[in-house]
């Protein structure tokens, strides 16, 4: 049960808009907490709180450089989540392709009706 909870939390951690924002910024390269605070315009406690959640699920890594803690994105854990959304998007894309065919037919029919 505990293991299942961990995996579900990873999705939740990454799906939160503020945390996705942090991940987007970190995707450009590793940063310290202060640099993140500056880029995002958020309060430091808030940024630290989100970073803690992201670290717990492994979405970000941290390394120490002197007195600085530098955070970076962990691509390995983000990929499966990205893939979920991509598959879901694919399902809708295929549904809409079928809808295109129906609409194409309705369009043609309307044009035909108008000319009669």
């Amino acid at each position: 049960m505990a293991r299942r909870a961990t995996t579900a939390d990873a999705f939740n951690a990454v799906a939160e808009p503020r945390r996705r924002q942090i991940l987007d910024v970190l995707a450009g390269g590793e940063l310290s907490v202060n640099e993140l605070v500056e880029r995002l315009g958020l309060a430091q406690p808030q940024v630290s709180k989100h970073l803690r959640v992201l670290r717990e699920v492994g979405a970000v890594d941290v390394r120490t450089d002197g007195r600085l803690h530098l955070y970076s994105v962990n691509g390995a854990i983000l990929k499966p989540i990205h893939d979920w959304v991509k598959e879901y998007e694919q399902m809708w894309a295929e549904r809409f392709e079928e809808l295109d065919d129906v609409l194409d037919e309705l369009n043609t029919k309307e044009e035909g009706d108008g000319s009669e």
């Binding site: 962990n74 879901y88 295929e94 129906v102 609409l103």
Partner: protein
Amino acid sequence: MAVNSQSARVILPTDEQILITREFNAPKELVYKAWTTPDLVKRWWSAKRGETTVAEIDLRVGGRWRYAMVTEDGTEVAFHGEYQEVVSNERIVSTEVYEGIPNGEANATLNTATFEDVEGRTILALLVEAPSKEVRNMIVASGMEDGLQDALDLLEEAAISLH
């Protein structure tokens, strides 16, 4: 006439939401008609994953709907719900219950479909609001061909490999 095939766009605006958008090369009256006419719904709703066997639509506030499809391996997948707001050619708000899980009613989503005209073309936006993050995630993961469990396993492997 060739139709420019646009790709669907899915974003997760909040923890509980899914927003699906797509532009169609047809006026919104026709997109609305294809979205709400049972015989037409039967032709597109299964997303090439089987055959739509049921498309019941009682399009009025308080009216009910039910769609079912049978997949290639014979599994029936069915959803139903109730219309809460119906504005012709503009907007439909309805609940959606997945019949494949126990206590589905408690996990119902609230879906808002809006049809926006853009110079004779139509942008369809479908906002799905789930009662919790967990339900929202289940819905997104249900798109996985290998199923939710495989997706969770994959995610877990990725998490374990970090330690």
